[in-house]
Symmetry: C2
Subunit: 129 residues, 2 copies
Amino acid sequence: MARTPQDVTDAELALMHQLWDAGPLTIRQLTDALYPGGGPSQYATVQKLLERLEDKDYVLRDRRTNIHVFSATVDRDGLIGRRLQSIADKLCEGSLAPILSHLVKGNLSAKERLSLRKLIDELDDTPRR
Amino acid sequence: MARTPQDVTDAELALMHQLWDAGPLTIRQLTDALYPGGGPSQYATVQKLLERLEDKDYVLRDRRTNIHVFSATVDRDGLIGRRLQSIADKLCEGSLAPILSHLVKGNLSAKERLSLRKLIDELDDTPRR
DNA sequence: AGGATAGTAAGACAGTTTGTCTGATATGTC
DNA sequence: GACATATCAGACAAACTGTCTTACTATCCT
């Protein structure tokens, strides 16, 4: 059957957003932020979601401290990249070029075109990272 | 709980690819293409997938003919657009700009930069379509 | 006309995924 | 030692997704 699960689930994504915005956090901190006034059940939910994120290597758990601290191993831009590649794989035979051209052709104001051109100029100067 | 289902499923996407590449098709034609040598079960599977795609308005069913003919209502580029917007909504507060800059910054050869610049030039000439 | 053939229609079904929760067990503090 | 708070392990139901069965209808052929 081979279904393809989501890379990061909606509920998991909420945690990632928190970790991205507020740095390494504990389960307690995450629970308070995402389920204000939540009880032990919500705490456990956050814990389970973090466990799954850790399994998928989207999150790192620091076990040295007694109370574990979690941090994102993939940043926002990294996740954007993975999802873009996924679109490319499924719809563009793996190439990102059609996506880029879709975006450029799609909806780009004159101002955006200008800043985009400038961005390309910078890349010309900085040959390769 | 509110899980968000996929816009187009993997199995459904296979049908879309076929419809994009080979124009309007019947269930039989789709079955033969995707499940070569498939029996009535596979036929029914294709039928069910088409029914779901029709419900989601990704496919149009022509019922005038006795044997229904199916065609895509969203083209490849359209689906790319929807998925890009979905990424933007979940990761960039709805804006496509960060995605564009990700792609441009990411991995772009000198040649690609050149053709991209040319593409922008064309857009400057063709003010707004 | 009558039966084989092929189509549509409706829904059952199981395996996963995903969000949520419960209970058991440690660990540290006062 | 009691208590609050952690971790750990796993149960659970709802929904999603791919697949299949069955019933019914229309067409074609000799």
